[in-house]
Symmetry: C2
Subunit: 129 residues, 2 copies
DNA sequence: CCTGTATCATTCACCTGTGAACGAATTTCC
DNA sequence: GGAAATTCGTTCACAGGTGAATGATACAGG
């Protein structure tokens, strides 16, 4: 039963791979775009439901790709915030289109009612941590 | 939408962790129990839908846990087969009980019709590689 | 027979995730 | 004001996954 999720995830992963992204990297870019301002790594980790050490490495790789930059927070010298670069914003826009296409393709085989049930059921399974 | 799958998987993972197993390790043990005989690593990888290099490492860890043993195949000296140890068979049986309990708990919040739709829909999403 | 070619498991480098331990900075509370 | 607790990001060791390269074996065809 769980294999289906891996299957779908692998599809999105390989679609994003064509522009040098991954689901994890896209998640970070999307949160930065949504916020509209640089976010602290701890905040990004929390919104991504992962541990901080993971976000450290993810931002390392995004920085190596020149999609985000680390900037210091003058109001809290412990904190480091991740800021989108112009390239990062652009890459995110491309990824959105790719994911829309991939999503349509994956769910095309379901009818309207099945999609609705799936969405509702998965939300119920996921909401209680 | 995909977050729900990770949530459910994390639940099973933490349940299995109590007896020192993981979903991946359980998968290998289950395939060996089902086959009733030692299986070549390549065969195990194919049945687990993963690459061979991954199975090499997984069997490394299972062997370190003394749950399986590598045995040579006299009919093909390239091949290495994984054989269940008595401890492996026993651990598998414990895991089956744990997973049954965890599965019941997770799906208890769905009614009969929702479970049926979910099963059918996920099978359709997963079957076309 | 022997020269390719295919297949086996392994190793390596990498990506994504976790948790524990750490140093540095900030709060909190006497 | 200063000691203690908390919070920040990083580093490390690990689990689990991928793909590419490699050496050893098996299996063609000529």
């Amino acid at each position: 039963m769980l294999g289906a999720a891996h299957e779908v995830e692998a599809r999105l992963e390989s679609a994003l791979d064509r522009i040098g992204l991954s689901v994890a990297k896209f998640g970070v870019l999307a949160k930065l775009v949504e916020a509209g301002e640089p976010l602290a790594l701890g905040c990004l980790a929390e919104r991504s439901s992962c541990v901080r050490s993971n976000m450290t490495q993810l931002v390392d790789r995004l920085e190596a790709d020149h999609l985000v930059e680390r900037v210091n927070d003058p109001s809290d010298r412990r904190s480091v915030r991740a800021a989108l670069t112009p390239a990062g914003r652009e890459r995110h826009a491309e990824a959105v289109h790719i994911l829309e296409d991939a999503g349509r393709e994956v769910f095309a085989i379901l009818d309207e009612e099945e999609r609705a049930t799936l969405t509702r059921v998965l939300a119920r399974l996921g909401e209680r941590s």
